[in-house]
């Protein structure tokens, strides 16, 4: 979701302008807060959590503009004032919006995007929610237990006898398979099978391949009894989610920043996986998932 989402996100560029125009025309009045989200489950969930948190902690009415085309649509919408805030990923902002080459250090990526967004766009990065939705090298739980697999380094000695199946995005991207293979010295029995990302989960669960690259917060990982291995050499760039808000909105309503700060560090990878699974695997309503989570985590 996140991985596909990040780039599906990028593809929305073409229809961005038309949507932005309609958004900007629709909500010029500043008496309510407009929250946006990108077009995949996790973004909708985070948008809903942020929206409900603002409703709970301030007296401001919130309007939801969810499932927008993707990164470019959300970015154009927020810079033009069509929306006041949405949840973005540090790595996406760093590479897709600011066009920096990928790097792995969490703090420096966050500092750079926070600084550049403030300077270039008048946008404020809030504190990250805590989880990191990056690529996750994933194996069956059964194999992890049998061979004592915990980290990607543990995989190196088994790989020559194992088969891998990867999505096209992971095989093509600068921060994908080629770099991973050289950083860890990974060699598989045969060249990895290139296939649709969603199908790699099924192929792994059904034993057709032994290793895949999923997304670390994907609900499928737990639902199919899979395990994500730790990236112990810190190869993958960080994709930490955090709310991005217009500076002018925060100046008018400082209590929004306070409300968003309460969400900082509250969502671990496992917790985000669980919420995604509630939506994608158990098909629960997003508003209900957000309400239940806020009620138990931030009473």
């Amino acid at each position: 979701m996140g991985g596909g989402g990040r780039w599906r996100a990028v593809q929305g560029g073409a229809c961005a302008l038309a949507m932005v125009a309609s958004l900007a025309a629709g909500c010029r009045s500043r008496d309510r807060i407009v929250v946006g989200s990108k077009n995949f489950t996790e973004s909708d969930l985070l948008g809903e959590i942020v929206a409900q948190q603002i409703e709970r902690r301030t007296s401001l009415p919130v309007e939801r503009r969810f499932h927008l085309g993707g990164t470019f649509v959300c970015h154009q919408a927020i810079t033009s004032g069509g929306i006041d805030l949405y949840v973005e990923y540090t790595g996406t902002a760093y590479t897709a919006v600011l066009k920096h080459p990928p790097v792995a250090d969490r703090d420096s990526v966050y500092r750079t995007v926070a600084r550049d967004y403030a300077r270039q766009f008048g946008l404020v990065w809030g504190k990250p929610f805590g989880f990191n939705n990056t690529f996750a090298i994933t194996v069956r739980h059964r194999d992890a237990a049998r061979y004592g697999l915990r980290r990607i380094s543990d995989l190196v000695r088994l790989a020559p006898r194992w088969k891998a199946g990867f999505g096209y995005e992971f095989l093509e991207r600068a921060d994908g398979f080629r770099g991973l293979a050289s950083v860890y010295g990974l060699r598989f029995a045969s060249p990895p099978t290139a296939m649709d990302l969603g199908l790699t989960y099924r192929a792994l669960a059904d034993g057709k391949v032994d290793v895949i690259a999923g997304n670390s917060t994907d609900g499928q990982i737990e639902a199919l009894d899979l395990v994500a291995l730790e990236d112990d050499r810190h190869y993958f760039p960080p994709y930490e989610a955090a709310p991005v808000t217009r500076q002018s909105t925060i100046q008018q309503h400082p209590d929004i920043a306070a409300a968003l700060d309460q969400l900082a560090g509250r969502l671990s990878d496992g917790e985000m996986r669980r919420l995604n699974a509630l939506a994608d695997v158990e098909h629960q309503d997003i508003a209900t998932i957000a309400r239940d989570w806020l009620r138990t985590s931030l009473p």
């Binding site: 780039w7 593809q11 096209y168 093509e172 099978t193 296939m195 649709d196 199908l199």
Partner: protein, 212 residues
């Protein structure tokens, strides 16, 4: 990078993928003919089966390819990942036009002609091979033509399950937002579909001319 420069630089790979694509289409359309034509003929002899058989073939048409792959992966013999699974899916998609047109072609033979054949003492087999199939051939071929052209397009989804073909460029291009890559896969696939349609069209005209 322009499309032309891409092809020049990757000519080996392009030819390999075109080959895989042709292989997927040829095997799957061939199998669909071997299964679909006898099945279509059978329906003319057992009219009660017509509804259920065409219904099932219809349903396969409506199942999205990724969902179909999802169902096929766990199955023994016909499932797994790779060319075999892709071919099974392509066969299922190609069956409907072939079964339907075979049925229409054979059932659509003028009853008077069929009666004349019977009057001459023809067995059912002789009636089929010497009267009904030759007369219905044009309609059957039209079904094969539709199935082939559709297969060339549908075979691009084989890349979703590790079976290669021109869809590889399309999937890669979508993954990294590269229009040149997408075109590099889509353009030869379109040319291939047009060529197949043209060749089968020539075959159909040849036949129509001979039948007169």
């Amino acid at each position: 990078m322009t499309l032309w420069a891409f092809y020049v630089r990757n000519s080996q790979e392009v030819l390999g993928l075109v080959g895989q694509h042709l292989y997927l289409v040829a095997i799957s359309t061939g199998a669909a003919i071997v299964i679909g034509v006898p099945l279509g003929i059978l329906l003319t002899r057992r009219p009660a089966w017509r509804g259920p058989v065409l219904g099932v073939a219809n349903v396969f048409q409506t199942v999205p390819s990724l969902a179909l792959f999802g169902f096929l992966i766990p199955l023994p013999f016909i499932g797994g990942i790779g060319a075999r699974t892709a071919i099974v899916a392509l066969v299922l998609y190609a069956l409907l036009p072939i079964i339907r047109n075979t049925y229409e072609g054979v059932a659509g033979v003028d009853p008077a002609v069929r009666e004349a054949g019977r009057g001459m003492g023809m067995t059912d087999w002789q009636l089929l091979t010497q009267v009904e199939l030759p007369l219905g051939f044009g309609v059957i071929l039209a079904g094969v033509r539709v199935a082939t052209v559709v297969s060339v397009g549908t075979a691009t989804i084989a890349a979703a399950i590790g079976a290669g073909g021109l869809g590889v460029y399309i999937f890669r291009g979508v993954a990294v937002v590269d229009d040149t890559l997408i075109l590099a896969g889509a353009l030869p696939a379109a040319l291939m579909a047009l060529t197949a349609d043209g060749l089968l069209g020539v075959a159909a005209r040849r036949f129509a001319w001979r039948a007169e």
